[in-house]
Symmetry: C2
Subunit: 353 residues, 2 copies
């Protein structure tokens, strides 16, 4: 019987509650597919700062590095927003991404037919949308040097080298090969030199994937096109900050923001997390929607552990739960037959797997 080690980072706000449900569901599929998951908890974010004085203790990095995958909830909250940058929850997450070499963030935006109405976009615009944002995650303006703020002048550097662009471009083209074989690379090459290098390099890499159709779009236009006609996209390939903005926009368009998982990969082990935040305002009330985290757990099974059948079980269970009308409070207005608490819906999904 296979045994995997999972590093679990609950984090702040609703993080702990939604992770509990993901583990509940994971345990139920393990039993059915005959493998075992051993969980180790690690601290990151505000809670790590509170207990250890740093948002990313060394033992968290070490713990992740000796695991097979990392399952992560969410971090952050107003409470820590005024701390010096080095102590903020976000800094912990950025450092962990870097330490684990997670250069690729994959964010699929699929539409669940049951939740079509939850979007502010018209259903006829949404129907059939199925896109994947491939975001570079450990370069660009997030990590570029020099950077600073002396109270008179603030500055950051958006920088990419060719090898950094090449590896994320390969990731995007490989993803496209398993999908509809289209890559749209998003940049601001009409203004930025770093984008010109980005575009030139993506074109070079594309030569290795003759079956994939490559297009280019300026980031301002991409922000428009996601609203105008999101169906036109298959894989969107872009840098760190543009990807941050566009993937959040895409997720909101889907109307399914409480259901969207993400995978950060490229290093030795992958990290899997919902795309939504820590929602401190509803933490501890039992109303958080754990579906995005449960789907992240499914991505973990599929991409990090190769446990495809178990991953399929979870995805099917979620489809069935939606179809049968179980909803958490955030989706109570969209086809709910029964409004469930966080733990209730977790249990139903576990049963359905």
């Amino acid at each position: 019987k296979k045994i995997y080690k999972i590093a679990v980072i609950r984090g702040d706000g609703i993080g702990p509650e939604i992770i509990d449900e993901a583990i509940k569901v994971l345990d139920s599929v393990c039993a059915k597919e005959d493998f075992e998951l051993r969980y180790e908890d690690y601290l990151m974010g505000g809670v790590a700062y509170d207990f250890k004085g740093t948002p990313l203790p060394d033992e968290t990095i070490e713990g992740c590095l000796k695991s097979d995958a990392v399952l992560f909830g969410a971090i952050g909250g107003e409470k820590w927003d005024t701390l010096p940058r080095e102590f903020r929850p976000e800094t912990g997450l950025l450092k962990l991404r870097k330490a684990l070499g997670l250069f690729a963030n994959l964010r699929p935006t699929a539409i669940f037919d049951e939740l079509l109405d939850a979007s502010t976009l018209k259903p006829e615009v949404l129907k059939g949308v199925d896109l994947l944002v491939v975001r570079e995650l450990i370069g660009g303006i997030y990590f570029g040097e020099p950077r600073g703020n002396d109270g008179f002048k603030g500055y950051n550097t958006m920088v990419y080298t060719k090898p950094e662009i090449e590896r994320i471009a390969h990731m995007a083209f490989e993803s496209a090969m398993k999908r509809r074989k289209m890559v749209c690379s998003v940049d601001k090459a009409n203004v930025l030199e770093v984008s010109q290098l980005w575009r030139d390099t993506v074109i070079e890499v594309s030569k290795a994937y003759p079956e994939v159709t490559l297009s280019h779009m300026y980031v301002d236009n991409a922000a428009m096109q996601l609203v105008r006609n999101p169906r036109q996209f298959d894989v969107i390939l872009t840098g760190n900050i543009f990807g941050d903005i566009l993937s959040d926009e895409a997720s909101m368009i889907s109307g399914s923001i409480g259901l969207l998982p993400s995978a950060s990969i490229g290093g030795k082990i992958g990290l899997f997390e919902p795309i939504h935040g820590s929602a401190p305002d509803i933490a501890g009330q039992g109303i958080a929607n754990p579906l995005a985290t449960i789907l992240s757990a499914s991505m973990m099974l599929r991409f990090a552990l190769g446990e495809t059948k178990a991953a399929d079980r979870i995805e099917l269970a979620i489809k069935k739960v939606l179809h049968d009308g179980y909803r958490t409070k955030d989706l109570a207005n969209y086809g709910a037959k029964e409004v469930c608490s966080t733990t209730q819906i977790g249990s139903i999904i576990a049963d359905y797997t």
Copy 2:
């Protein structure tokens, strides 16, 4: 009788056609309000490169500087996209903004009830949206040094100094005082030092406007909130690249992208232009929608020349034209009683003023 000098930059693609209609309408209101406009044509963009070897000839800058306002169509086209950066149409526009000191770009997004259906967003989400993006236009990553691309490493610098942030913040707060008295400042202060300085400075400036409510939003969240609930915004204050992305997103959400004007101000003279691009694919066919340019001309009358009554005449005429069911081809599916060519709709608006 007052005489104003207007520098006219037709530019590329549909630029010349839409400017012609704006001038037609301006001439008709001049006659009615008893002032005179004297137009001088100047070259910028691809056409300037073709004729003069540079996208921004010196005489264009000089001509603009001795005018009372600049009316601008649009620039750019695939034809020039592969030129070295210094020769590209966009570089001309960026240099002109800098040369004229146009640090503030104001982009109002209002919804025309007649065109509610043209948006991909649901009408109930759109109804009543009335927001203004105040974008810093001659700083940030567009102009920051150092910048470069040696084929292995590409880099740009996002930089702001306190005085640069102060002046655009004042502009936003002053705009808000004439509106619903809310400013939402958008940044990425959880990651970027330059955004931290931005946020700190905006907070300082806000003290001079006790009646205005200030909030802060991360740019990824702002991209979501524009889709989720655009009505929550009054004035959005942000830097150059975030403003580029968010104002385009906001304009597409409105469904009225062919109707949205913009004003670039802050220097000695203002520049007024539609927010849409040069649409080379439809140039010369007589189907371009000139309404955004005509509304830009109205903004010019109001903000640069103080000819409020003439500006009102244009806005009323446009409302009437929409109400009466005249539409250009792009809006043929949204309440058209008669589909008009570019020159036809220009003439009807001129008549209606």
